[in-house]
Symmetry: C2
Subunit: 376 residues, 2 copies
């Protein structure tokens, strides 16, 4: 029988969503987690659901489905767990401060409209009316009214609470070192001296996904560090998610504003550095100079799971019974809950609502691409 | 009899040094402290003993005496308490990166030499030989070989340990709200519901010195915020105290490097802010670009006791039995131990080694200037 029907490695947003989906239909789901739920990128993120602002063609459909999924999930999880997710349907502003920036925004607006997506182009006065503390130097902005945000720390807690209340088992402080492989297929995982047995294993290890022993062709996931700053604000000085270049401000319901982020190849080093902080402060003060005198209450860094082509690694792995659910890079919170459910469906042979072909692990030579095709 | 012969308000470097001196000669000294020893600026500082780099004419003699006093004190305190002060006799480099900066340095060197002080003018190659991680953009530097540094956190702990071991009483968590005044002279202090009695009271309250109730003309001391960053370094990347403009790097014996600082009028708000952090990061990375990728391990702010003319407030107060020992602004660690001993001598009617006239509280209209003249 084994210890479970499904073992999920990693209690981030993806793994918890997968376990919740599996347990919700009576399967025995076991989450084996190195530290604790949400200990890594799922809590370090800013919780931006930027299906449009971060849109790239191969990700657009998955991102839009994931965004829609969040809206429903927030109500469901709040009802199930009593945890307020602070889902904030206020939209996202992306700013331009110069000719180049304006040109890029207008091109993006045109492309997005061609895809049938809602996007408003705002002049400087309209931007400052929508967001009075944006710098007077602003020239123009796009407004993505359907790109919302969620408190990812609360989301992760709620997913964990829901998964457990549905019957999933969650073991924290168990660093999985390798798969257990028997007769050419997955039979469980090993964590230290302990072995947990199940016929299906889902790798939801985030930035650590490439380090799973026993996987003959581990996914080429690499950590990409993102540093963050939290400002203490009361009352809130920023209303919307505000993007500029590669940075952003995100208001939180508790009055803080988060500012991010960097994109750094620094291995598994989660240091907050001088150059990182300075880059984020430059972004934050360019967007909203009023932040200059606001108290910095926290700084941290997280590790995004990056892939060579920037796309997720989602589908069957190299061994029968193994599934990959990772590589979500900058969009882990947006995509995570849906990806968790999709991989759960895939592992149970259910039909999927979209083609996961672009995300198949096989594109890196990991095999078995056929099983990632939609079955309906 | 009262509770003590002398009450010292405030357990920072000044107050602890005063209590240590008084107790060392058998007097009953009682330190009444709002929070705990070294809870404020004495621990927030960087520990630079920059008698020359920070020299302004009225402070020069006091600063030089204080610097010499530190050298002896470090050995004494280490022997008395077993606490290593990490007194670092490595000297201070002050950098110039452009014509203006070079001109200012050369003028300062000339003035200092005119005062008979040791100062070396280094070319770019010599600077980089002395301090290999200084930016390649450096043009010139002054080297003050006698401006050293000390770990001010350890210094404060050692002063507290020494004062107590010599018999001083130290009451923490007692915020003094006012003087007790009887028949026109000081008779003690009030802290909440408690009264402590002594015929002499020394105000060593740092940035809070102007808030002492019952002082008819409180000293015009105002808090001046200084923000700080600590970098984790192993092995140390910086050898000397390195100044540039209003900022600096200071290596600590434990491998950290401190970077500072700001000079801000922000009331009693000890927030670390976006603008403050960015200013310090700009300074730190201008001095030593290698710090860009180094981990930032801590940020904090402290409140310097500033005065209208930037000079200490040192001498008899407005009431008989009251003494002021504060307003040390940017030089609290340099001056504090000596100032504490000087005010102790003054309160006991001892001769002083220098004229405290320029620092008399009377210059702000607080009266009794005559008693601050040297008695020998």
């Amino acid at each position: 029988m084994g210890d479970a029907d499904f073992i999920v490695i990693g209690a981030g947003v993806v793994g918890l969503a997968a376990a919740r989906a599996l347990a919700g239909e009576g399967a025995r789901a076991l989450v084996v987690e190195r530290r604790g739920p949400g200990a890594e990128a799922s809590s370090a993120a800013a919780g931006i659901l930027a299906a449009q602002a971060e849109a790239a063609p191969p990700l657009l459909k998955l991102g839009l489905l994931a965004r829609e999924h969040h809206r429903r999930l927030a109500s469901l999880l709040e009802a199930e767990t009593g945890i307020a997710l602070d889902y904030a349907p206020r939209g996202l502003l992306e700013l331009a401060f110069d000719d180049d920036g304006e040109r890029r925004l207008l091109e993006r607006a045109e492309w997005q409209r061609g895809q049938g997506l809602a996007v408003d182009v705002l002049g400087a006065d309209e931007v400052r009316e929508a967001e009075p503390n944006v710098s007077r130097a602003v020239r123009r902005a796009l407004f993505f009214r359907d790109d919302h945000s969620v408190d990812n720390v609360r989301l992760t807690k709620a997913l964990a609470a829901s998964a457990v209340s549905r019957g999933a088992a969650l073991l924290s402080g168990r660093p999985v070192t390798s798969l257990v492989v028997e007769k050419g297929r997955v039979a469980g995982v090993r964590a230290g001296n302990e072995v947990y047995r199940a016929p299906v294993v889902i790798n939801a290890m985030g930035a650590w996904a490439g380090l799973l022993g026993g996987d003959p062709v581990p996914p080429p996931v690499e950590p990409v560090r993102g540093q963050m700053i939290a400002f203490d604000l009361s009352p809130p000085l920023v209303r919307h998610v505000v993007y500029w270049g590669h940075g952003y401000l995100v208001p939180r319901a508790d009055g803080r504003v988060l500012a991010g982020s960097t994109t750094e190849q620094a291995g598994f080093d989660k240091s907050v550095t001088a150059a990182g902080l300075r880059a984020i402060l430059d972004i934050a003060l360019q967007i909203a100079p009023i932040l200059a005198d606001v108290r910095v209450v926290d700084v941290w860094a997280g590790l995004r799971p990056g892939t060579p082509d920037g796309l997720p690694v989602l589908g069957p792995g190299t061994l029968p019974g193994l599934y990959q659910a990772g590589g979500l890079y900058r969009n882990g919170i947006l995509l995570g809950p849906l990806v968790g459910e999709l991989v759960a469906d895939l592992a149970r042979g259910r039909p999927l609502p979209l083609d996961l072909g672009p995300f198949t692990p096989a594109r890196f030579g990991l095999g078995q691409a056929s099983a990632s095709r939609p079955t309906s």
